[in-house]
Symmetry: C4
């Protein structure tokens, strides 16, 4: 088995830093009400080696420290860590191998996003925030069993058809979100739940006013290129 | 009346440790929004004697300390403690006597689980998380009055028909959850509310896509045997 | 104007203690999500004089200290305090004058209780918790304007018809709750919101299974006489 | 470019104080669940110069300090600050230029207010709290793209038609709230979400009982002139 000692100091330093980032982002999942008990996981890919840092399987959030985070290669094999990696590790690995710009992946069972997923309906684009963040609807991916990389395949296949969306609702299961790092992916997961909740509530009131595709495109273009600190 | 002094030091040490565990798990009921004011209760059975530790009746959560937890025998009779035991003590005791693998019992009135219970409908299995945790639907138990062991009988009768489910929704009342210890039962109570909320929200959106029984079985088998740290 | 100096040391000591209790119970309104910004108010009647302690009007919860609590007589006239009393003071006073067993009153605009109030529908009794706490449905009181004792009259008239209920939903307005002290009234306000939320959610799922009146009576009898520490 | 050094010590002192107020009010947006991640923004106009203090664009709430708040003129041009101002700066500036009594503006995407906005329906007045705070319904403003002052125009045009309302729901987007300072605007934003949530829940239960216009006027008159500390 490969071990962290097979890598140079630059990689080991990045592992240390990414372990801190990934552990700390799990607190954000709790803060924004995206997970219950041990559900959900965050990973981040390294830049200096084909490795990723991911949550261990089935640990309560109170127990998650930087040291408890697990290092795996991009086939999902354990490289460093005291605990078994998340059940979704092979799917995170598949996403990194097949989407080279993605360096962060998050999976939750957040309540309203998962409710849409249980009905197999995508979340229609009725909010400027959806134009900004998703460039349209939030898509639904196929039903897949847990444990292999089958979920990762479903995520990649779906997101390739929705190139502006950083999230996909896996049918009967819950959202997967991606980003240029783990923080961006956690933000996408938080935004997915927020638009899922808002659009769910709107559907109970009556018909949603659709936003013209041309306006959605302008919102997305501005948000991706002008919003924030450049 | 039997007292703790009738037991050896090993039992008294276990009582001390379980009092800490049970008091601390009541904080988890608050953290996950499963209870209001004084509602809800957690118990854990001992391994070294036919005793259980349970919450006192009607105390606010701010007042719950390890010392205030009550020790009863498995007929629900008080063995040690300054306060009257929970109104549900005889039902917890019945469950322990009749389900020898169960060492933790939790009762809540968590909002969405109790909403399903008020309509007498089981929660249909539309989520992989339900396959994992419950092996199918979350069942409904009969209407029973509070104070005797009648609720415990209803819990046991129902769970014997749903051997993969760690929780039952008592009609017009609320969920009871079980586990190999009190922490596992609290987890089951938290998951019951989460799937109750998600499936409730999904039902407002339209038809749920059912999960094939074969897939539910595979999810449950993997989760019970592979998930977590082994 | 009467002042606190017109009363003896026993009364002044009770005022000091009740100011601490009432200030601290306002934190419970925040904790249980019963109020937003400055909405809501708690009062407690004294035992040693015909006085009550109540929240000042329009102050943010961060600013509420024991010293900022206002003392009024049972006509709602200011006796001691730096700030104007709550807009609902005359209604609290009316309740104390007309219900001599009541020593605590709480008013909130908690979300789901107020939603029921906006439709003028009482909350039907579909939960054992409602049998316990309310002895049946939670009743609706008449529409009344704010500022005079008209709301207090509506509360008293309604509760006299529902002698087991510690709360009434004032139409288009929100709940008023009563108790043997302010803590009991705050508990009743918290329970009102919880059963309002649960029964609201249940109504979205389908028909509620009614509980037989005989069973409701047994639940209420046991809860009022056996539950808790006696 | 104009800089803060072009202003006298009185203005610079007000800038320092308002930066503290505006930074601290962003914590209230989190406290009352009005925003997710980086969404939402608060500004306050100065009294001693035609300047305003506003949130920087796209920063997480954990990073918001008084020093990070940005100073702009009333055309939305940067006057002082290390970071780019909020995307909504030109709209805040437009509101201040066209509504001279307004010294605070808040924008959120709070869940239930935004759900109403997605359907283009105003929130009907079914609560005494709405009579108090809004003097009637909460109005809907037009669909507008983000980044220019077009949103500000829509806000002003709508509020001129609803002179008692301190908030408008911009269609498919979310609420804008105004006040005599930033704290009053944040209060209006919190109240907008609360009445949006309550009326949304009420609509799921059945028909809302309307409040007579005469009673709405009396509630609004009393609240604006008698409520609170005068």
């Amino acid at each position: 088995m490969v071990s962290l000692n097979d890598f140079g100091p630059e990689v080991r330093a990045e592992v240390k830093q990414v372990r801190e980032v990934v552990a700390s982002l799990h607190e954000q999942l709790i803060k924004w009400n995206l997970v219950v008990w041990t559900a959900g996981n965050v990973s981040q890919r390294l830049h200096f080696a084909d490795l990723m840092v991911i949550k261990p399987s089935g640990l309560r959030y109170e127990s998650l420290t930087p040291e408890s985070m697990v290092v795996c290669d991009l086939n999902g094999e354990l490289v460093d860590g005291q605990a078994s990696p998340s059940s979704d590790t092979k799917s995170h690995a598949y996403i990194y191998r097949n989407m080279p710009d993605v360096y962060g992946v998050v999976h939750t069972h957040s309540t309203y996003a998962t409710a849409w997923a249980a009905t197999g309906q995508e979340i229609p684009c009725g909010l400027t925030m959806m134009g900004d963040e998703f460039g349209g609807s939030v898509p639904v991916g196929p039903f897949r069993l847990i444990g292999s990389e089958a979920i990762g395949e479903g995520v990649v296949d779906t997101l390739k058809k929705y190139p502006h969306s950083p999230a996909v609702l896996m049918q009967n299961h819950g959202p997967f979100a991606i980003g240029c790092d783990a923080e961006a992916a956690v933000k996408a997961a938080a935004m997915t739940e927020e638009v899922a909740h808002t659009m769910w509530a709107a559907c109970q009131l009556g018909d949603i006013i659709p936003i013209a595709q041309d306006d959605i495109d302008k919102l997305n273009e501005r948000y991706q290129n002008v919003y924030g600190q450049h």
